[in-house]
Subunit: 444 residues, 2 copies
């Protein structure tokens, strides 16, 4: 999707070269059309949209940037959304799109959907929390009864498969619709035709409940290398499936979210978001940092009698080192918890281990600074000792604190990522100053 | 995988209850057995391993933690590795495992593989850079000639499918083995049996070259919601496929890597890595931070004549705010570049946008601090103005610098993530001090 191609499309729109435009669009994947639309003006995008088949238009809408899609949908009448888009979408995509709209518009759209079964499914899915398996699953799947023979199953599958884009697994249920087994589609071509479904399927398949949180769903799909995961309700009935492509977005978002929190961004924000959204995401932590900095200024004032000009030289070093160490420790813990290589029950073990690493770093850094100050201020100056001792203390404190806080938050079921980044660096900045001032006073 | 179960297994191993152990293991997925092995001692793990079928043992090995696996493989004779593991693995997993070993051991293992075709494939795959599509692909796939009829294709598929775990797509090639098309397996059950493969397949499928970098491969799979992606060589011949599960690890690792760099970790490190590896990953940035802090102390000393006691109160606030703002800006840019929502060619646009956001944040923060100091030091004190002016300047500078540096690095094809975290906070700390000292001197 280069600039040349975008300009070419813009020119075609301007010249109303409809048939040429149609040819160009036909060659593109819906995801590419969605990308193209992001680069066009609203009226240009509308002209393009009119030329698309309903099927493709729906696929493009699914792939569009959420913010742009929302603006777009607000301008369209409910009947159009229902008939041009929702009717041609899988239920999970339809629900994803409907969640952006208010309840009134949702009901209006639902009343315009011709396929009553689909409308019913959407209503059911909208009830689930969007951060659970139920909120992400689709109801489109191939489901067969365990008592069928393979030829009967094949016939049944043919009927069901017509409406589905891709099928990877066949789900087997009992007479009460409870999930009993699963088999990959390839069994259809490799199993002897006399077999019964019951004997081809893998029993007790890996599944999740409708209320399983999404991060757990992502972990299961990743761990077992699945392409799709069945979702069952509280009594084990097959309710839907979650496919790997939806989970992939979840994994990226999860990783991005931790990174954003560690960088002092309090909500999901992108470079192309508007000024208000950017400020809303960024100002909170900056203000907390500001309050921390003002607190620090009062703290230092409290030690006015101890404070010498030489001492102030090292204020940035001590605060900064505490921040750097704390950021490292907390990032390690948050990532370990996120990818399950660390368990929040291992707090004592992890803190002990961290203390040993901290001891090495603290010793090296404070020794180097000691040598530097030995020559700068001489071996008898108080500052030569107070700076190194403070550095040693702050590295030890920041390492242990940066480990302990996220692990404790995880045990309290609070997102540990909020304790990374600014929170850790501000706390360590203040604690570092306290060590520095108090140690210097003690040595004076 | 709870502690209770692990203890139960440990007890069974101790009592040499082989048949009970076998029963327990039979119930577990290979990924769960791998997790279990991570929690056992080496001798316990070896006892478990002996009880596994070759097929399962190979799957478990694939799922094991890389570090533990490497230690494990180094203790096994090459013939065992070849016959017990490699022979039962897909080529991509075999290559992944072989890469951990030295060349000598690799050749030894290869000489023990019975299946000459598989050994040849592994040799070919090992030649590719592991960060490219060629290095991640597997050669196991269903490949049919375009001129076959569907019944012939089905027969061909049956023969090929026997050895494959899962099949999602069928790849269609011409007589010269060049990729011509693809169709999802479901077409086998929905297409009329009289069709020719050529007419069932989707032409010009999305594919990548053997030398396409992995991050691009991940983006393509994510963008087009693919389960598998064909890889072609320089003349368009089908060389292998990459499946989504391998790419998922890549996406997580990519996101984790950016986060680690932003947190001042200079290489991939986990909480369970040993002391040496942890220190190696953490000390470099701490030392750079230390040098920055010492540089700052020399800078402040240079302004000794300007420096008042009151001024030193605000050293942490100014340095910290610069660091916080810079971290936010650089994180936004790095994430935008990683998920392709930002293009490195848009530098001017992004810097201008960032400058506007910075203006809002800078104004709010410096005004609030001005009001605070207005009451603390009075409206005529130089410090009341110099602190706010310095804050304003450092927020503006840090925002623009934090945007400009990663964007420039990306254009120079250097990983922009190295410019996040410590680098940005150290630079802004020093620049903040310069502003503070110089502005105060100017106002005095």
């Amino acid at each position: 999707m280069n600039q040349e191609f975008i300009d070419h499309i813009k020119a075609l729109i301007k010249n109303k070269a409809q048939s040429q435009l149609k040819d160009e669009l036909q060659k593109l994947h819906p995801a590419d059309i969605a990308e193209l639309l992001n680069d066009l003006s609203y009226t240009e995008a509308k002209d393009i949209y009119r030329l698309l088949d309903n099927e493709i238009a729906a696929d493009v809408l699914v792939e569009m940037d959420e913010d742009i899609r929302k603006d777009f949908l607000e301008l369209l009448p409910s009947a159009t959304i229902a008939k041009r888009f929702i009717d041609h979408m899988d239920t999970d995509d339809a629900v994803d799109l409907m969640r952006d709209l208010d309840t009134e518009k949702q009901s209006e759209i639902l009343s315009h959907i011709d396929d009553v079964e689909q409308a019913g499914n959407i209503v059911d899915l909208l009830k689930y929390d969007e951060h659970t398996a139920g909120g992400l699953m689709a109801t489109e799947m191939v489901k067969v009864n365990e008592n069928l023979s393979m030829p009967e199953c094949l016939k049944e599958m043919r009927a069901q498969a017509e409406e589905l884009d891709e099928i990877h697994y066949v789900y087997v249920v009992d007479d009460d619709d409870r999930l009993q087994g699963v088999f990959p589609l390839k069994k259809v071509i490799t199993s002897p035709s006399v077999s019964k479904v019951k004997h081809v399927m893998k029993k007790d398949p890996i599944s999740v409940k409708v209320d399983t949180p999404l991060d757990e769903v992502a972990q299961i799909i990743e761990k077992y290398d699945l392409v799709a995961l069945p979702v069952v309700d509280s009594i084990g009935r097959l309710a839907g499936i979650i496919t790997v492509d939806d989970v992939m977005d979840e994994i990226r978002e999860q990783a991005e979210k931790d990174y954003q929190l560690a960088s002092g961004l309090s909500q999901d924000v992108e470079t192309d978001d508007n000024l208000f959204k950017q400020t809303k995401a960024r100002l909170p932590w900056l203000l907390i940092g500001m309050i921390g900095g003002m607190g620090n200024s009062i703290l230092i004032e409290g030690f006015e009698s101890t404070l010498t000009t030489e001492m102030s030289y090292y204020i940035p070093l001590i605060g900064g080192t505490g921040g750097n160490v704390g950021t490292q420790s907390s990032a390690l813990v948050v990532q370990g918890l996120a990818n399950s290589s660390l368990d929040s029950k291992e707090t004592v073990k992890q803190v002990s281990k961290e203390a040993v690493v901290a001891l090495v770093n603290a010793t090296i850094i404070s020794m180097l600074v000691y040598i530097f100050n030995f020559f700068r201020f001489g071996p008898t100056a108080i500052i030569t000792y107070s700076v190194s001792l403070s550095l040693f203390s702050v590295v030890m404190f920041a390492s242990i604190f940066g480990t302990l806080v996220p692990m404790t938050l995880e045990r309290l079921k609070i997102d540990p990522a909020i304790a990374t980044g600014p929170f850790i660096s501000i706390t360590n900045d203040i604690v570092g100053m306290m060590f520095y001032m108090m140690l210097t006073r003690l040595l004076s």
